[in-house]
């Protein structure tokens, strides 16, 4: 499929939500059912096919927004065989939000829990080799971790998450590596819940494995660099429940480590009982690899 971005007149049903399939009014900005932007449908570059959805899932504070922002920014700079071209100005929001904050040594604000306030990134991804270009339309939402937790606890609380899980062609599951290394079972159980949830959404036959490409990404690996030495081994040892579930239920899974912050400090004073984390400098490592792996599998 060789096709650059075009603005040709497109013939398709522009009222059906890309994510949940609900029919909306012609002028709807967001889907009345799941709050996904209707621009995802209207901005499509190919009337014959719909874009693929890749979801980045993870617990609250694991760094989904930072990961997504840097990923899109790196892809936009055409540094590898892959490049990304945003479709629709709204797609640039998450990238801009992350870059502008991190350059000033601040983490971006937490993603709001309300689905109608999430950022959605719609990009054309191009893989260039010496002989050809391959284009792929990708939609990647920036989902709030609290919303995911609520949906896991009570399925269908967030219809959009349920729809996304069903629509996803690939998934990046982000887990807090230092938390796991410190002996917390929280990342392990979150990962297990997430995979179990996906299993239920896909209504997978228990005798066959889910084939959706899934990248397990150990985040904040700068704080436990052993992740980079062997992410599989780290997962097996520190996230054993998730590891076993991956092996038995996922047919196409790979493990990665990544970090975006080179050094973390905290602003604090004796008068306050809270601290503000400060990303002192960036050191991007392992950000592109899991995404490229997922895209290769699509």
């Amino acid at each position: 499929m060789n096709r650059p971005y075009t603005t040709q007149t497109q013939e398709r049903d522009d009222t059906q939500c890309l994510i949940c399939g609900t029919r909306n009014e012609d002028a709807a900005v967001q889907c009345i059912e799941c709050s996904a932007p209707m621009a995802l449908v209207r901005d499509g570059t190919d009337p014959q096919s719909r874009p693929k959805v890749v979801t980045i899932l993870g617990d609250s504070n694991v760094g989904k927004t930072v990961y997504l922002g840097f990923l899109l920014d790196m892809l936009s700079q055409h540094t590898t065989d892959y490049q990304a071209i945003p479709i629709g100005a709204y797609s640039v929001n998450v990238q801009q939000n992350v870059i502008s904050h991190m350059a000033c040594r601040m983490f971006p604000p937490k993603t709001p829990m309300e689905a109608d306030q999430w950022h959605w990134a719609y990009y054309q991804i191009c893989k260039r080799t010496s002989r050809k270009e391959e284009w792929l339309d990708l939609v990647i939402p920036d989902i709030a971790g609290e919303s995911l937790t609520a949906e896991l606890a009570n399925p269908n609380t967030f219809r959009v998450i349920n729809s996304l899980a069903g629509k996803s062609a690939g998934m990046l599951l982000l887990l807090d590596a230092p938390q796991a290394a410190n002996g917390s079972s929280q990342p392990d159980f979150f990962g297990v819940k997430m995979l179990t949830y996906l299993d239920a959404v896909h209504r997978a036959d228990r005798r066959s494995r889910v084939q959706m490409p899934t990248a397990v990404v150990l985040c904040k690996a700068d704080m436990c660099p052993e992740c980079f030495d062997d992410p599989r081994h780290f997962t097996e040892v520190n996230l054993s429940r998730l590891w076993n579930l991956c092996q038995s239920r996922l047919g196409n899974v790979e493990f990665f480590a990544c970090s975006a912050v080179g050094s973390l400090a905290y602003a604090t004073s004796p008068e306050e009982d809270f601290v503000t984390p400060i990303p002192l400098h960036t050191a991007l490592r392992g950000v592109l690899e899991p995404f490229e792996w997922v895209v290769q599998q699509l």
Binding site: A103, R209, D229, H233, Q247, A267, E272, A283
Partner: protein, 338 residues
């Protein structure tokens, strides 16, 4: 049939003998050269030129001390560059904004290594038994010495194997060493680490003059990816310390910006914009210059301050040594002259 479907997939762990992911083929350990028996020759062989120059009085009885002293001085002339007296203005807040509180520091002339310490050079420190010798380390660090090991558990930088560096990276800067390892090497070789003000003076070249001009980068004021190895240079790993001659400071010191961050001897001591103390999980030492994976050009400048826990053994932090300009001024007395 059911059993085979539920059988665990075989893990594909990384090859234990593999080299760095960006280098093809297996790890290629560096050979260990035979050490000279004569202690003075061994000092020169180990490139501890600062030690020879500074300690020449205690070595004065050696019949070849004058020749050794001369060789050491010539080596220092070749490998170090003079940084003239000057100034460094250090912002006292995390973010350097117009009007933020600052501290002006005056720096005396000093000699700065033209290159970061390489794996080959650091290997001589390891081979000298530094990691087994408690006298090489500050007493309060000794409990942590057992953690200063490589991938195979030997006392060495974090990414080495069996106490040996990969010989394909011999001329790359040594990384995977904490502040204390950097400081111990510098002491062993007869040098020290630069202070944050000295490092900044060397990179910004704010020499004492009526103009009070400083440089954003050692080569000038414009960011240029052809003059340094940062993320935007699209290399993705360290390069030999002799690369990027076009990015040199006026005194021919290379790679102050990019390739690897550099440990300084100063504590990282700043506040946030509201005056709250900025602290890490443990003592933080200041690092300077940016590395091959530094994403924002604004974080790889001559004045950008950041810190790292002193015990961190990061993949992108190395160091370079300095000497005081007055060290070893007096030549050793000839043994024959008595």
């Amino acid at each position: 049939m059911t059993l085979s479907l539920f059988a665990l997939a075989k893990p594909k762990s990384r090859d234990a003998a593999a080299g760095p992911s960006w280098l093809p083929g297996p790890y290629q350990p560096a050979e260990q050269p035979a050490a000279a028996l004569d202690p003075l020759k061994r000092l020169l062989q180990q490139e501890r030129f600062g030690h020879v120059v500074r300690q020449h009085r205690s070595l004065g009885a050696h019949p070849q001390i004058q020749a050794a002293f001369q060789a050491a001085v010539e080596a220092i002339d070749d490998r170090f560059a003079l940084v003239p007296e000057g100034y460094a203005t250090l912002p006292a807040t995390v973010n350097d904004y117009p009007g933020c509180p600052e501290k002006d520091v005056q720096t005396e002339p000093f000699l700065l290594a033209r290159h970061c310490v390489t794996n080959r050079q650091y290997q001589m420190f390891v081979d000298d038994g530094a990691y087994e010798n408690p006298h090489m380390w500050p007493e309060d660090i000794l409990p942590h010495l057992v953690d200063f090991v490589d991938l195979t558990g030997h006392g060495a930088p974090r990414h080495w194997r069996n106490g040996r560096h990969d010989k394909r990276l011999a001329d790359h800067p040594v990384v995977g060493i904490c502040y204390y390892e950097a400081a111990a090497y510098a002491r062993w070789a007869g040098y020290r680490l630069p202070t944050n003000a000295e490092w900044q003076m060397a990179a910004s070249w704010r020499i004492r003059s009526a103009a009070h001009v400083l440089r954003r980068y050692p080569w000038g004021d414009s960011f240029d990816t052809s003059k340094c190895n940062v993320w935007a240079s699209r290399i993705g790993h360290t390069v030999p310390v002799t690369d990027y001659e076009n990015g040199a400071a006026p005194n021919a010191v290379l790679q102050l910006i990019g390739n690897v961050w550099e440990w300084t001897d100063s504590d990282y001591d700043v506040t946030d914009d509201q005056g709250r103390a900025v602290v890490g999980d443990m003592l933080m030492k200041e690092i300077r210059g940016g590395a091959y994976d530094t994403y924002f050009p604004s974080q790889a400048t001559s004045c950008f301050r950041t810190g790292l826990p002193a015990l961190a053994r990061a993949h992108n932090v190395g160091f370079r040594c300095v000497m005081d300009a007055g060290d070893g001024d007096s030549r050793p007395a000839s043994p024959q002259a008595g």
